[in-house]
């Protein structure tokens, strides 16, 4: 009798109930759908610039123009010093890595609203969608990084005082941190946007504000020196740590603090975990509220 009972209750493949356990992350299911993940990435990359004249060139135009403008405004007009590094290269480095974060963040933060059509008709682990955004943006990031390298070589041959240092081995980790931060924050926002649309508007100008406190166009040390009272805003912002570190490893300017590295790593993991938990909670019912 006992045997029979366990058999009847135990061999259900899955169960649908009103509420998930808080920490059932479904990562195993995501793995089962890895083919779909890669197909979405392919779709995003292939279709991004179909029927545009310049095509992938747009990937290059945007960071280059932004860097030129930043150099004119912040370095030439406002006279922010970038030390021995050419200001244009300094800005380009910051913008390249910052762009990867914004692309991941804005891409994932509209997950639910942009995919309501698909999500309303078929089930697959919803996590696939934001993950595909983060991965397909890597392609764009790669192209922008290439352009940065072209300018790096140019300035190096002109005799500028720049060069890689040994921390370059951490570069993939930095990119991963940026992706995970964008993904985590994006998922939190996307889950809340399903109910409260106000956040969508907030995200737009929030990103602009965030850029100014993320050390994209100035060295952290410069901010600390000029505004010591508010320096913590920049210093404890994991984004500015990543940007500063990337510039450090690529251009050999600034500092690397191992304590801050651990702090950033932990923050990222917490944000990502929180993002997945909130996202998984939202995915169950969002179709009723969107």
């Amino acid at each position: 009798m006992m045997q029979n009972n366990t058999e009847n209750n135990g061999d259900w493949l899955f169960e649908i109930t009103p509420k998930n356990k808080l920490f059932s992350l479904n990562l195993k299911e995501v793995w089962q759908y890895r083919d779909l993940l890669m197909l979405f990435v392919k779709r995003d990359v292939v279709t991004a610039y179909k029927q545009t004249i310049l095509g992938p060139l747009w990937y290059l135009i945007q960071p280059l123009f932004t860097s030129v403008i930043f150099t004119l405004i912040f370095n030439n007009v406002a006279n922010i010093s970038t030390g021995s590094v050419p200001p244009f290269l300094f800005n380009l480095a910051g913008i390249t890595i910052w762009n990867y974060f914004t692309a991941c963040f804005s891409g994932t933060s509209s997950t639910f609203s942009a995919n309501a059509g698909i999500f309303g008709k078929v089930y697959f682990p919803r996590l696939i969608m934001p993950l595909s955004v983060v991965i397909s943006n890597l392609v764009r990031f790669g192209i922008q990084l290439f352009i940065f390298m072209v300018f790096f070589v140019y300035y190096y041959s002109q005799g500028a005082d720049i060069g890689f240092n040994k921390y370059l081995v951490l570069f993939p980790v930095m990119v991963l941190i940026m992706g995970m931060l964008g993904l985590g924050l994006g998922m939190i926002i996307s889950s809340m946007v399903t109910k409260y649309r106000d956040l969508k508007i907030l995200v737009g100008f929030g990103m602009q504000l965030l850029m100014y406190i993320s050390a994209v166009m100035y060295p952290v040390a410069y901010f600390v020196e000029k505004l010591p009272k508010y320096a913590w805003v920049v210093e404890y912002n994991p984004l500015s740590f990543v940007i500063e570190t990337v510039r450090y490893m690529l251009l050999n300017t600034g500092v690397f603090d191992i304590g801050m590295f651990i702090y950033t790593l932990i923050t990222t993991i917490i944000v990502l975990f929180l993002g997945i938990v909130i996202f998984n909670k939202a995915e169950k019912n969002f179709i009723d509220t969107i």
Partner: protein, 428 residues
């Protein structure tokens, strides 16, 4: 017991009317407060049943309420019901698109749902790329799609355009390609919602054939929602009828269809009184007061199925006594262009009207409805003779006769629609 593959227990789903969402921020806070104190969601206690026609007292309604059923392995379950009965909500919960408010679903198999064909199709990508993408969205792995790619392309009939972006396809072609992908899905449990309506007649036939093959051949468990009663009858092995968010009938597919047809628009029919019709001709000693269409089981229905027996019951209001030997009754069935297709004339048939001494109705029995699926109209003519000056009461278009497609030839196939007759006969 061990064959149950899907078990639905006390399933309910609540929605809030009016505004989108589950309520205002205030309601959210109350809910959150109740949750913190470990109490039940206060809004679950209220809520009206799902009836779109009546005005409720609460803003919350139950789209589904206490649904319980089990599905056996290999069964093809038809789910029928009026618009808004909760069919789509049920399918959405079963396919994990939204979660239930209370209750649970237990499954022993992989579920794939086809609530729409072509989900995730991207116009910029080629047919081939879309097959991979759509297949993966529906839960196939790349390996599975690779193995079936040729079959899918062949089934869709889009071979020539397979490397052309889908945005250049006609809508029919897109539909065919999408259905082709879906047709080669191989889950343990397949959930289908009215997806047969894509493509031209030829492709629809192919699609229904494929569906039959899936449901009969593979021992696959299928949940099928459709308004096409003939398709439900020929594809399903069991049926449930939903009404206002609850199950009102559970039984064989034929019984379920009959239950559904006889209950549909019940209220509307009851109030229909022919005496109120003004567009009638005749001296008016007797007046036709009611027409009822009955199916083979004697139930009043609004729709009948091609090839099945029906009875038409005509009731009269008798104002003056008439000489029963001098009565003529004619009933005609007309196609939508008002061309007479069939007529039943009492003088030809030597009908003796003596029974009118004891009752006020007559039943026209048609043992086999030789009409294809369409909407026909019925004319009734009562007179002392067939001449127009002898009319007692004549009404044109007394009632519509909705005929649904059926399996006239007993071949398991649904015969085509069309406003003309279908006749017994055979090739030899």
């Amino acid at each position: 017991m061990s064959n149950i593959i899907l078990k639905i227990e006390n399933l309910s789903k609540q929605y809030r009317l009016g505004l989108v969402g589950t309520g205002t921020m205030g309601d959210d806070l109350k809910r959150w407060w109740a949750n913190i104190r470990g109490k039940e969601d206060p809004f679950l206690k209220i809520g009206d049943i799902n009836n779109r026609a009546t005005r409720g007292t609460s803003n919350y309604i139950w789209a589904l309420k206490d649904i319980n059923f089990e599905v056996q392995q290999g069964e093809v379950l038809g789910i029928i019901g009026k618009n808004g009965a909760g069919k789509s909500t049920l399918l959405k919960i079963l396919s994990k698109i939204t979660s239930p408010t209370t209750g649970s679903i237990k499954s022993k198999g992989r579920v794939a749902s086809l609530l729409e064909v072509g989900t995730g199709f991207h116009g910029e990508m080629t047919g081939r790329e879309n097959i991979y993408l759509n297949g993966a969205i529906l839960g196939m792995t790349k390996k599975e799609i690779n193995a079936k790619l040729d079959e899918i392309i062949e089934f869709s009939g889009c071979e020539r355009y397979i490397d052309t972006p889908v945005k250049r396809y006609s809508s029919g072609m897109t539909g065919r390609l999408a259905f082709a992908v879906a047709a080669f899905l191989e889950p343990d449990i397949l959930i289908i919602d009215e997806v047969l309506a894509v493509g031209d007649a030829e492709f629809q036939k192919k699609a229904i054939g494929k569906m039959q093959e899936i449901s009969k051949g593979g021992g696959r468990t299928v949940l099928f929602v459709s308004h096409n009663m003939a398709a439900v009858k020929s594809l399903c092995t069991r049926g449930i009828v939903l009404e206002n968010g609850g199950i009102v009938y559970e039984g064989s597919q034929d019984e379920s269809v009959e239950f559904y047809l006889s209950n549909k628009n019940k209220d509307q029919r009851k109030t229909f009184n022919l005496l109120k019709r003004e567009d009638r001709l005749g001296s008016g000693e007797w007046k036709l007061s009611q027409i009822e269409i009955l199916n083979k089981k004697g139930k009043i229905v609004n729709e009948v199925i091609s090839g099945e027996p029906i009875n038409i019951k005509l009731s009269f209001e008798i104002f003056e006594k008439l000489d029963l030997n001098k009565i003529f009754l004619g009933v005609a069935i007309l196609d939508p262009q008002e061309q007479k297709l069939v007529s039943f004339l009492s003088d030809e048939m030597n009908l003796d009207f003596k029974f009118f001494e004891n009752r006020n109705f007559v039943v026209l029995q048609i043992p086999n409805l030789f009409l294809r699926a369409s909407i026909y109209s019925i004319n009734v003519q009562l007179g002392h003779s067939t001449k127009i000056e002898d009319y007692i009461d004549t009404i044109e278009d007394v009632s519509k006769l909705h005929v649904l497609p059926g399996d006239f030839w007993n071949t398991g196939k649904v015969n085509r629609s069309g406003s003309f007759s279908i006749f017994p006969g055979r090739f030899n």
